[in-house]
Every structure is written in structure tokens, then in C-alpha cells.
């Protein structure tokens, strides 16, 4: 009895296997079945390297060349250049508007207009206070959200990974790329505002918020400080965008996610009952750059802000790394 059954069973199995083998070539043409994923690859003991082929040698400059090509791609992409142009145009608009408003009557001038009209350098800080709210974060979110998801969406991620660069390195390159872009955005705003200000308003000693007056060089130094601070903030936001970018293959998803997070934070800040939450929100820290305009410079607030930026960067990058190094790349 048992013998008979076994025979029939195995016979059926053989038949099934035969049909499956027979059917296999008839799968949808053009799609290659995924025989091996990252998980199966990890479970398998690594094969010994085939003799004769030397292990790939990593040339020291490889990382920087990869970063260079990445930067070249970023700064040649029309979309990114357009965003730089837009953020660069805002200080010009603000400057011209303030010039036209401030030229008329001296009596109704508010503090901001008065300070800009009195000194060209103040236009930089006024522009920053507008742009850090939304426009600069959006520009950084676009590049950051596009970093991994964009490659995945375009189907180029697997080719990038085919090069012996390693995922961690690729992630590092992508993040540094966003950091450079973030600083570029900040610097463009600062330079555009500085040039506009110098053309439209008188240069000279800078009046700080505390009412003290400092020489022009000191004012330029303070602009440099604020650029450093805001750039670090943009880098932290970029890290968040890169992290979101590793979770999706749709770049718009990652970009929108980051922008929505920024907007939600701004809304939360407006609710007085949620004030205890505010120190932990990333966008709430962008505007603390005005600490450089106080006398003495409020280093405590700046350092607090930088540590918040650092915390967001470390957390986001570690999440991105954990996700990206363990991800199956299917596109």
C-alpha cells in the first residue's frame, strides 16, 4: 500500500516539475524572474573569488570623483539651477520693494524697512528671515528627496550600484551632494542680497538688533556666521529628505514628504499650546540665525540650534543607511 502511494506521489511530483519546467520559458517576455534577492545572497556563503582575477583595488580618489560627477549632475540639472535662480531673485525683489516703499515717507517706516534702508547688509538678514521659512527648505528638499528615489525611479540605481562603490559610499556621496547644494542655496541668497543691498542702500556701519553699531567688516563676518548656521540647518533638512528618499522609488513622494513635514512644523509653531514642542522642531531652529545680530552674539542659542541640526542629521542618516544597505534594489 505504502509503496504504491509513494510511487504515485513521486510520479505526480515529477509530472508537476516537468510542467513547471516546460512552462517557464513562457513567462511574460522581457521580464527576468528575480532569482536572487539581497536576502538570499546574504544567506549564501560567499563564493571564493575566481582565480586569476585580482580583487578590485579602490583608488583613493574614487570617492571624490564620484562626488564630483554627482555635483556636476546636480548643478547642471535645469530644475536645480532654476531653484537657485528663484531663491536668488527674492532678495532682489525684496530690496527693490523696500527701496520703493522706504523712499517715500520717513515717518511710517517700520523697524525692518528702516534698518534695511539704513544699511545694505541688513537686506541679507531680512531675506534670510523670509526664505528660511519655506523657499530654501523646498529647494533643498527637492535635491535631497531626489537623491536615491530619483535614481530608483529612473532605473539607474542598479547601474550605480554595479560599480564597486558600495552602498554606504553612495549614500555618503548623495548626502554630501545635498549638503553642498544646501550651502549653495544659502550662499546664493547671501550674495544676491549683499549685491542688491550695496547697489540700492548705503553701506557703512551696521546697527544690530540690540541698538549697538558695529563696523562693516564685523557685519560681513556676521553674515558669514549666519550663512554657516543656515547651511548647517539646510544640511540637516537634506538628511531628512535623503532618509525619506530611501523609502520610496517615487522622488515626488520623498520631496513632498519633506516639504509637508516643514509646513506641518511651521503650523505647530503657530499654536501657542504646543510651545514646549518648539525647541525640538527642525524648522523652528532655522530662524535662530538672528542671534548673530545681537550684542553680544547669542552663542548659546546658536549652539543649541547646531546640536539640533546635528541630532537630526545623525538620526536621519542612520535610518537612511539602515534602510538603503538592506534594501532590495529592483529598479
Amino acid at each position: 500500500m505504502s509503496t504504491a502511494e509513494t510511487t504515485t506521489g513521486s510520479a505526480a511530483e515529477t509530472a508537476q516539475t516537468a510542467t513547471r519546467t516546460a512552462r517557464q520559458p513562457r513567462r511574460t517576455p522581457g521580464l527576468v524572474p528575480v532569482a536572487e534577492t539581497l536576502s538570499t545572497a546574504e544567506r549564501r556563503t560567499p563564493e571564493p573569488a575566481p582565480p586569476g582575477l585580482p580583487p578590485p583595488v579602490r583608488r583613493p580618489g574614487a570617492f571624490w570623483r564620484l562626488l564630483g560627477s554627482e555635483l556636476g549632475l546636480t548643478f547642471r540639472r535645469p530644475r536645480n539651477l532654476a531653484m537657485l535662480a528663484v531663491v536668488g531673485a527674492v532678495p532682489i525683489l525684496v530690496g527693490v520693494a523696500l527701496r520703493m516703499v522706504g523712499g517715500g515717507d520717513d515717518d511710517g517706516m517700520g523697524g525692518m524697512i528702516a534698518s534695511v534702508a539704513g544699511n545694505s547688509l541688513m537686506l541679507t538678514f531680512v531675506s534670510f528671515s523670509f526664505l528660511t521659512l519655506l523657499l530654501m527648505p523646498v529647494a533643498v528638499a527637492v535635491v535631497g528627496g531626489d537623491s536615491i528615489a530619483g535614481e530608483a525611479g529612473a532605473g539607474t540605481l542598479r547601474y550605480l550600484l554595479a560599480a564597486p562603490a558600495g552602498r554606504t559610499r553612495l549614500l555618503a556621496v548623495k548626502f554630501l551632494n545635498v549638503v553642498v547644494y544646501g550651502y549653495a542655496v544659502t550662499a546664493v541668497v547671501a550674495l544676491s542680497a549683499l549685491v542688491t543691498g550695496l547697489l540700492l542702500f548705503p553701506a557703512g556701519d551696521v546697527t544690530l538688533l540690540s541698538g549697538t553699531t558695529v563696523p562693516l567688516t564685523d557685519g560681513l563676518l556676521r553674515i558669514a556666521l549666519s550663512v554657516g548656521y543656515i547651511g548647517a540647518g539646510m544640511a540637516a533638512l537634506g538628511a531628512v529628505a535623503v532618509a525619506l528618499s530611501t523609502f520610496t522609488e517615487v522622488p515626488v513622494g520623498a520631496i513632498a514628504g519633506t516639504v509637508v513635514a516643514v509646513v506641518v512644523c511651521q503650523v505647530l509653531r503657530a499654536i501657542p499650546d504646543l510651545a514646549p514642542l518648539e525647541p525640538y522642531l527642525l524648522p523652528a531652529r532655522f530662524t535662530s540665525f538672528d542671534s548673530v545680530l545681537r550684542d553680544p552674539i547669542d552663542t548659546g542659542t546658536l549652539l543649541d540650534g547646531l546640536s539640533v541640526f546635528g541630532a537630526y542629521t545623525v538620526l536621519s542618516l542612520s535610518v537612511a543607511w539602515a534602510r538603503f544597505t538592506g534594501k532590495d534594489i529592483t529598479s
Binding site: 536576502s39 546574504e42 544567506r43 517706516m109 517700520g110 523697524g111 525692518m112 528702516a114 534698518s115 534702508a117 539704513g118 538678514f125 531680512v126 528671515s129 556701519d205 546697527t207 538688533l209 540690540s210 541698538g211 549697538t212 553699531t213 501657542p272 510651545a275 525640538y280 530662524t287 538672528d290 542671534s291 545680530l293 545681537r294 550684542d295 553680544p296 547669542d298 548659546g300 546640536s307 541630532a311 545623525v314 538620526l315 542612520s318 535610518v319 543607511w321 539602515a322 544597505t325 538592506g326
Partner: protein, 392 residues
């Protein structure tokens, strides 16, 4: 799940843990190292030491720091004033920076987003600078007036010193006073003087006053309302250093382009001070009646709705501000009429054998505006204030 996944995700989890630890480091470190223990002192000893310390240094010790003031008085939401002024201190949390120099030098700065208001007192002249309006106001004291009056009155609600003095003045037989020696304020071990009203009708649960363990400078004042664990009003240093601040802090020249105004503050002369006070008190006694005593005292003053609207915002503020004397106000404030309007909107109509009126309750104060033209203010429960309204 594979082992690799666990190891990988361990990294962000560890990062989150480290960041969480860094945020909570203060409390954790305090818990591990235990409470700072200062030599025990009784309330009397403590006050005597504090008084001795004040006398020795003749005025405030040279120091600087950041003061945080939090008020959750349960006031109805105040209309946005736009400009940051002393009035905005009534709700929410605020940070101000203070510098005390040798002698009569004082600087108080209130930083807000892209703006700052400064009060700089140097000897017998003071500057008030508001960057939002770009106005510098020079305040001149009358010759002969005590310049340190300014230092005491202007930042009345702001500095712990001034607030502490006020609290100390109220401590009498209606109060149970105790001292703890394990508090910590701005990272410094401190004594805490706890004042607890004995009367059940008071809205105040207790008042805690923290004095620095080393030089007895008041560091923090907290006012707890009945039935809430968080202080309804708190002002205290979050960071403090007892080194003389840089002299630049106390010099001020109006920046070019700023509007410069001048105000003369006619402070009464020293010898006239007591006389003026007595006269003022006599005058005040004519219209202001105090019902009850100690913590449950209720001030009764004649006022009608239209009076109030014309008079300005002072009475509507309620809380302890209404009891304390008003410091000089600078700059443009919110429209007082609008403020009163908002506050009155939240009032509930009440009536009883004493008549009828509008009742405004906050965490620390109750205000009753009766229809027969009386305004009752006190840090008492609504029952107490209606009881007081019955007293003619």
C-alpha cells in the same frame, strides 16, 4: 527577519537612544548624582543670610544670565500685540537676558524673532531701545531721585530679585513657611523657601522661592495655583554666571537713523518718598477698600464698564499684576480697549444676594465686576469673592 536587518536597524535605534539621552541628560544626571544637599537652614536663618548678603554687596551682585518667565494664568487669549512689550509677558513663555553691573548698572534684553527690546540703566539715565520701531527712548531721572528705584521698578515682573522681594513682603502670619535645601536652579544648588497660604479660600497653593546656595541671590520664583502641578507663574534663571559682565553692555548710543525720544521720570525724592506714599495711600484708601486679610484679601474699587474701557488695560490684567504696583510702561502697547473687550467676552454673568455682575476667573485671580459699579479683585475662589461682594 534576518540577523543582518536587526544589526542594521540597531544603528538608528542606538542613535535615537543617544539623542534621547542627551535631551534627558539633565534630569538623569541629577537623579544619578542625587539632589544637591546644602547645610540645613531654617527659614529665618536663610532670610537673615540673604539680607546680610544683600547688605554686604550693596545692591545686586554683578552677574548675568538668562531668565525664563512662564505664565499660564489661564487668561483668555490676548490679542496679538505685534510688538513685543512687557504686556506680552502675561501669557506664554518668554526668555529675557539680564546683566547686572557694579553699582546701578543694569541691562535687560528681550530677544524676539528678528527684534529685540533693550533697557539699559547706567546711573541716573536709562535708555529703552525697541528695534521693531527703531526708537530709542532716553529716560532721565530727576536729580536727587534714587536711581536704583528704576532698577527696582522697571523689571518688576521680570527679574527674580524683584519678584522675590515682593513675595517676601507678603509672608506673614497667614503663611506656613518651610525651607528645603535640595533644589537646583540653573545648575546651581539652591535653597527653596516654600510659602503656603493657610487659608483655604486662596487660589494660591504655594509659592516657592529659590535662593542660590552660595550667595543667596534669588534665582527662581514659582507660584503654584490650587490643583495644578505645573506652576501658573514662574520666573527664574535658566543660566547664570556670577562674573561681572562686560562694560559695553551698559553703554548705549542711539544708532544712526533711530528715532530718539526723551522722557523724564519724576521719581519722588528720598525725603518726600514716605510723604508721597502716605498721601497716595490716603487717596487710594478713599476709593479702594480691602475686604479680608492675608492671602484672601479682596480689593474693592469703584469702576463701571465704561470707566474700564476708558481707563486702560491695567485692571483687566488680573493676577498678581493687579495687586502689585505697575511699573512704568514703555513703548506702544495693544489697544487697551480691545484688550478689555477680549477679557470681558470670556466673563460669565453671575448673580446672588449681593447683586449681579460679571465674573472672570483665572488660575491665580478672580475678578468680579458688579453691575452696581464695583470691581473686586483677589487671588481667591469665586465663592470668596462673592462673599466679599456682599460686604458693604
Amino acid at each position: 527577519m534576518r540577523r543582518g536587518t536587526f544589526v542594521r536597524w540597531g544603528v538608528p535605534i542606538a542613535a535615537a537612544a543617544v539623542i534621547g539621552a542627551a535631551i534627558g541628560a539633565g534630569p538623569v544626571v541629577a537623579a544619578v548624582s542625587g539632589d544637591p544637599v546644602l547645610p540645613e537652614r531654617s527659614a529665618q536663618q536663610l532670610l537673615a543670610d540673604a539680607a546680610a548678603a544683600v547688605e554686604k554687596t550693596e545692591g545686586p551682585l554683578p552677574m548675568s544670565g538668562t531668565v525664563q518667565q512662564t505664565a499660564s494664568l489661564g487668561l483668555p487669549a490676548l490679542p496679538q500685540t505685534g510688538s513685543a512689550g512687557p504686556l506680552s509677558l502675561l501669557s506664554g513663555s518668554h526668555e529675557i537676558k539680564v546683566w547686572y553691573g557694579e553699582g546701578d548698572k543694569l541691562r535687560v534684553a528681550m530677544p524676539t524673532q528678528m527684534n529685540e527690546t533693550n533697557l539699559i540703566v547706567d546711573g541716573d539715565q536709562a535708555w529703552y531701545f525697541d528695534s521693531a520701531t527703531n526708537t530709542a527712548t532716553k529716560i532721565l531721572f530727576d536729580p536727587g531721585a534714587r536711581p536704583d528705584d528704576m532698577a527696582e521698578h522697571a523689571p518688576q515682573e521680570m527679574t527674580p530679585q524683584a519678584a522675590a522681594e515682593k513675595v517676601l513682603a507678603q509672608a506673614d502670619e497667614h503663611t506656613a513657611v518651610s525651607v528645603t535645601n535640595t533644589a537646583e536652579v540653573a545648575g546651581r544648588p539652591a535653597y527653596q523657601l516654600v510659602l503656603k497660604p493657610k487659608d483655604a479660600g486662596s487660589l494660591v497653593e504655594e509659592v516657592r522661592l529659590a535662593l542660590d546656595g552660595e550667595n543667596f541671590v534669588p534665582l527662581q520664583v514659582q507660584v503654584f495655583a490650587k490643583g495644578s502641578a505645573e506652576p501658573a507663574f514662574q520666573v527664574g534663571f535658566t543660566q547664570v554666571t556670577f562674573t561681572p559682565p562686560a562694560p559695553e553692555n551698559f553703554t548705549f548710543t542711539p544708532p544712526p537713523g533711530a528715532k530718539v525720544e526723551e522722557k523724564k521720570l519724576t521719581a519722588p525724592k528720598k525725603e518726600e518718598l514716605s510723604e508721597a506714599h502716605a498721601e497716595e495711600a490716603r487717596k487710594a484708601a478713599e476709593d479702594v477698600k480691602i475686604v479680608g486679610d492675608g492671602w484672601t484679601s479682596v480689593a474693592v474699587l469703584p469702576a463701571t464698564l465704561s470707566d474700564l474701557k476708558a481707563q486702560g488695560g491695567e485692571e483687566a490684567q488680573g493676577g498678581e499684576e493687579a495687586q502689585g504696583e505697575d511699573g512704568p510702561r514703555f513703548g506702544d502697547e495693544a489697544d487697551p480697549a480691545a484688550l478689555i473687550e477680549t477679557v470681558l467676552k470670556s466673563a460669565t454673568p453671575v448673580s446672588g444676594p449681593w447683586g449681579s455682575g460679571k465674573l472672570i476667573t483665572t488660575k491665580l485671580a478672580t475678578v468680579l465686576l458688579t453691575d452696581d459699579g464695583r470691581l473686586l479683585v483677589g487671588a481667591v475662589t469665586p465663592e470668596e469673592i462673592t462673599k466679599a461682594a456682599g460686604v458693604r
